[in-house]
């Protein structure tokens, strides 16, 4: 199916709001589960949006911007998975893989902003020295607006303008490629989790990783909430019963009290 001009504009407008939400990390409507549902709504196929949202959300599990890193963009992933599935009539599982280039493109745009906005800092310092509150505030509006506009433009181009190109591209994809992409969806979260580990993991926390891994592997636990309860218990135990002394954490060679 085609995406109409109105739908294209609606998607762009929605993504301006959602893009700002991602930029500020406020209400988390930037996660694929929400983005895809909204996209589905706009394209008149909510059910597709929901299913695509669920799949994309899982494939993007662990891909977070924590620590100032930038993962492939969840908004473009959410929008384009639905758009591609809708326009080319492919399964959402496959569409995730095909939406990825857009997601990575937007990731690099944000990374470009992260770098180039540094330029504004000298000016911001200047305003601060002069206690010029208004100018400083406007500077922040400006940066946010730049982000907002770029989301609008890129989403409009990707979802509306590029659709015919996309269709002809997908027509020539062989079956085995499609099947491979679907399987990739189940493996991709590994990268996200490796990123999380990269932020969190020191050697001494491996025991807790093992606990979580075993709970899911060997118990009939249907979701992660019970694991979080156990993790909370372990954290509480650590807080109340275990020494926090820095020497201890490093391996406790020194004796305390000395």
């Amino acid at each position: 199916m085609q995406i109409t001009l109105v739908q294209g504009i609606l998607l762009a407008l929605a993504c301006i709001v959602i893009g700002v939400d991602y930029w500020l990390e406020a209400f988390f409507i930037f996660r694929p589960i929400i983005v895809a549902s909204i996209t589905g709504l706009i394209l008149g196929d909510l059910k597709l949006g929901l299913v695509a949202g669920g799949l994309t959300e899982l494939a993007f599990a662990g891909l977070t911007p924590a620590g100032g890193t930038q993962p492939p963009n969840p908004i473009l992933a959410g929008v384009m998975t639905v758009v591609i599935a809708h326009t080319t009539n492919t399964s959402p599982a496959l569409a995730i893989g095909l939406a990825l280039p857009f997601s990575i493109l937007m990731q690099y745009v944000i990374l470009f902003f992260y770098s180039s906005f540094s330029m504004f800092m000298a000016r911001a310092d200047h305003y601060a020295e002069n206690a010029d509150a208004k100018a400083l505030t406007q500077l922040n509006y400006l940066t946010t607006a730049i982000v907002a506009v770029s989301y609008g433009v890129i989403v409009f181009l990707s979802a509306y303008a590029a659709q015919d190109l996309l269709k002809s591209l997908i027509d020539i994809l062989p079956i085995w490629f499609i099947h491979g992409l679907e399987i990739a969806g189940g493996i991709l979260p590994a990268v996200g989790f490796a990123m999380l580990l990269n932020v969190m993991l020191k050697l001494q926390y491996i025991p807790f990783f093992i606990v979580g891994f075993f709970l899911i592997t060997y118990l009939p636990i249907a979701n992660l909430l019970p694991v979080a309860v156990v993790g909370l218990g372990l954290g509480m135990y650590d807080y109340f019963f275990v020494k926090s002394d820095d020497e201890k954490a490093k391996g406790g060679v020194q004796n305390d009290g000395i």
Partner: protein, 266 residues
């Protein structure tokens, strides 16, 4: 210094919760959240320093220093520092506390919100959404609205704590940060087992005509979820030790999967 005591009203403190949303408005690699942070603090600072332009300039300059912390928890830090500003505390002390706390707060917040709450909510809401149930995104959104609302009590707590329990805060923020890391690591261990799916297809034909699946007869016997675990740690190795960009790893993973699937291995 011409700083008057107790100029901030309850409403000023609540407003901080709203304004804290600016935190990342001009995020960049040089100062990270410094710009948005300062803008969020501005109205309160202006009220505290009133006509003392020099004081305000000094405060603003301090605030423009590098900072990177967790957005949801930031109101706590903002009002804590405001209460010190209000009391005319020494600038060095204020800076010191800010620098000492934003890191642990980031650790605590990331572990709780990015690494624990998000995947849990992703899992629960996806399981609804995959059945075409609109409850999925609705539950997800509702929880995050709830999390946003937490900014208000956090703002109040920071302001009240401000003047009192400063020493214990550093120590206990370290302890809290370790506890949160434990929580987060536990959840990540579970994530690796729950969300990464790798199953080998090849089978071995025995002499007697029976075929056995390598996945079931070998891997699942030794350790179920061994392959997901191994792949997560392979990725981890490339990110941590070889400093490969995650985006590259995503592309490599996709290409590899397609090839292996083509060869009938996956």
């Amino acid at each position: 210094m011409t700083v008057s005591n107790k100029v901030l009203t309850k409403k000023d403190i609540s407003d901080m919760a709203y304004r804290s949303v600016f935190l990342q408005a001009s995020f960049n690699y040089e100062r990270m959240q410094a710009g948005g942070w300062t803008v969020a603090m501005l109205p309160a600072l202006e009220k505290i320093y009133k006509d003392d332009k020099e004081g305000l300039a000094a405060a603003m300059t301090d605030n423009m220093q590098f900072i990177n912390t967790h957005p949801t928890l930031v109101p706590f830090l903002m009002t804590l520092l405001l209460s010190l500003e209000e009391n005319g505390s020494d600038r060095t002390l204020i800076k010191g506390i800010k620098v000492g706390l934003f890191g642990p707060l980031a650790g605590i917040g990331d572990a709780i919100f990015w690494f624990t709450v998000l995947p849990i909510m992703a899992g629960i809401s996806s399981s609804f959404a995959l059945e075409g149930n609109v409850l999925g995104p609705i539950i997800f959104f509702a929880v995050y609205v709830g999390i946003f609302i937490m900014r208000f009590p956090l703002a109040r707590a920071g302001y009240e704590l401000g003047t009192t329990a400063l020493d214990s805060l550093r120590e206990s923020s370290k302890k809290l940060s370790r506890a949160a890391t434990i929580l987060g690591t536990t959840v990540i261990g579970a994530l690796a087992a729950a969300y990464v799916h790798i199953t080998l297809l090849p089978t071995i034909e025995l002499n007697d005509g029976i075929t056995i699946s390598i996945q079931e007869a070998f891997i699942d016997k030794i350790f179920p979820n061994l392959l997901p675990l191994a792949y997560v740690f392979t990725m981890f190795y490339f990110i941590r030790v070889r400093k490969v960009s995650p985006t590259v790893l995503i592309l490599v993973t996709i290409v590899l999967t397609i090839v292996l699937s083509f060869l009938g291995i996956l």
